[in-house]
């Protein structure tokens, strides 16, 4: 729609004259498209402005999102510094773990049923346990023994007596865990779950337990 043209010669006459003049001028100067009814288009149109409600402030979600894998690797949260890699430092952890297991199995007396103890161990957490590789398809792993520092889905990270951090794959190995005279053999191939997932896992007898 053409805007109102301000002509320097137009002076303020009476409003009626001005209006008549304006209309006549507009009619002469602009194109009159037959389709559009200019009069109708210009009058009585309510213009709808933006629809706005008072906005609520979106709260920041209370729980932390956590780090994704890349951030974890960058921050190196799960890596232990060499100065912390000493066997003695982990012995208190082992003591804690022993207490935890003894509590879990309800005392671990000499008369406890091994089946019950084993069932409890399947769902227990092993961080801090002393693991020994008893049998393995790869001969060089056999005999390694140490305190479990980290348990991942497919490997155990243990620290041996000579302060070496060793990574032992779970597959094709049998680990022995010893508490108070109870020796439990764990077949690593069947244990390839994250510690958190394992707590909820039902273990079924499937296939052979041969390495």
């Amino acid at each position: 729609l053409p805007g109102v043209i301000h002509h320097p010669l137009v002076s303020l006459q009476s409003s009626f004259k001005a209006k008549a003049f304006t209309e006549a001028f507009l009619k002469n100067s602009i194109q009159q498209p037959r389709r559009h009814d200019l009069q109708n288009m210009l009058s009585h149109k309510a213009v709808i402005l933006g629809y706005g409600r008072p906005k609520k402030e979106r709260r920041k979600s209370a729980k932390a999102r956590g780090l994704n894998a890349r951030q974890k690797r960058e921050l190196k949260v799960f890596q232990i510094n060499p100065e912390h890699q000493r066997y003695e430092l982990f012995l208190p952890l082992h003591e804690l773990w022993r207490q935890y297991i003894i509590d879990l199995c309800g005392g671990l007396k000499a008369t406890s049923n091994p089946q019950v103890v084993q069932q409890k161990l399947l769902k227990a957490d092993f961080h801090g346990a002393i693991l020994t590789v008893v049998r393995s398809k790869c001969p060089s792993y056999v005999g390694t023994s140490g305190i479990l520092v980290q348990e991942f889905k497919h490997v155990f990270k243990i620290i041996t007596r000579d302060d070496k951090l060793k990574v032992i794959p779970k597959r094709n190995s049998v680990f022995a865990v010893e508490i108070n005279g109870f020796v439990s053999h764990i077949y690593g191939s069947k244990f390839e779950y994250r510690a958190s997932e394992r707590a909820a896992k039902k273990f079924k007898l499937k296939g052979t337990i041969d390495l």
Partner: protein, 329 residues
């Protein structure tokens, strides 16, 4: 040369000699046959004793001992062999190998899944010297992880041992339950033996005939006997006598070598018969065959060789191996 073969052969259990046209062994031969070294049978020897420092230094390093596990079947149980060249071979089933935790290779004779493993260690190598890492690892493995114990046949060369006599193995023996044995000598005189002419017939049939003579199977093929229809290969000559001697036990290579020299001297002298044969058989259950390769037992654990010596200094060698064996080059 025959010397090379007999020095290579190690795990011998029996030597059979056939002397055609001979009714009694000449004195030299007789003395050699009766003077084979005696051997020891140790019950329940813990295998880590073979790694004993004193034993290694006085006996093994001089190539003077030779031992084999007794009554262990190569395809079922764990077998141990100690060769004069200082190689210790353990043939283990899968569970024992996995518990032992020492480097080894799967057996060549099984397909797909390995069920048998061979651990072969050269005790004379510097990495296996007492105190070194591999030596200690093998020692702890055999002592604490897999306590392997077998009945063991042990034989030692009296001259090669540094301390002379049995002094080098006495400490080892004193810790165990042992008994001494002499090789058994069997002499048979055969009469009216049809003998094929050695160079004229096919080697396989000749070998078969030799085996038949040794086993005492008659070559008559009479219609009343259904057990054997074996006949002596043509052309054959009838010998009036023949002497068949066999010595069984754990036999040392150097004794066999002496026998070989004696037989050569015998056959070189002009005689009625122009040939002599000697068959040396190895243990069916030994982890190592005549040619120091891996040996297995499929349907039969034969590993033997037959040496035919002729008057004109030529000889024929027949080597027989079972299905689970590696042929020497």
């Amino acid at each position: 040369s025959p010397a090379h073969i007999s020095n290579g052969s190690v795990s011998t259990v029996q030597v059979s000699v056939l002397l055609p046209e001979c009714s009694s062994a000449p004195s030299h031969l007789d003395s050699v046959l009766n003077n084979f070294s005696s051997f020891y049978l140790i019950k329940k020897l813990p295998v880590y004793e073979l790694l004993d420092r004193h034993f290694l230094e006085t006996a093994v390093y001089h190539g003077a001992v030779f031992g084999l596990s007794y009554r262990t079947r190569i395809d079922e149980d764990n077998c141990v062999a100690l060769m004069p060249n200082g190689h210790l071979t353990l043939s283990l089933d899968k569970d024992s190998f996995e518990i032992l935790g020492f480097e080894g290779k799967p057996s060549r004779f099984k397909h797909r899944t390995a069920t048998r493993f061979v651990v072969s260690v050269d005790l004379t190598d510097s990495s296996m010297a007492p105190g070194r890492r591999s030596y200690l690892r093998l020692l702890t493995s055999l002592k604490s992880r897999l306590q392997l114990q077998t009945d063991f046949l042990l034989s030692h060369h009296p001259v090669l041992c540094s301390l002379g006599g049995g002094a080098s193995i006495q400490p080892l023996l004193s810790r165990c339950d042992w008994s001494q044995h002499r090789p058994e000598v069997n002499c048979r005189v055969l009469t009216n033996l049809p003998c094929p002419a050695p160079l004229s017939c096919d080697p396989h049939s000749f070998l078969e005939w030799l085996g038949a003579v040794d086993a005492g199977i008659s070559c008559e093929n009479s219609s009343s006997s259904f057990l054997s229809s074996f006949v002596c290969p043509e052309p054959n000559t009838m010998h009036r006598h023949a002497l068949s001697v066999s010595v069984s036990g754990l036999l040392l290579p150097h004794d066999i070598h002496r026998l070989l020299q004696e037989l050569r001297r015998y056959v070189e002298q002009p005689r009625l018969a122009s040939w002599v044969s000697m068959t040396v058989r190895g243990f069916a259950d030994s982890p190592v065959s005549c040619s120091n390769h891996e040996h297995g037992f499929l349907r039969g654990g034969e590993n033997f060789y037959t040496l035919m010596m002729f008057h004109d200094h030529t000889y024929q060698l027949h080597l027989a191996m079972g299905a689970h064996d590696v042929c020497p080059p």
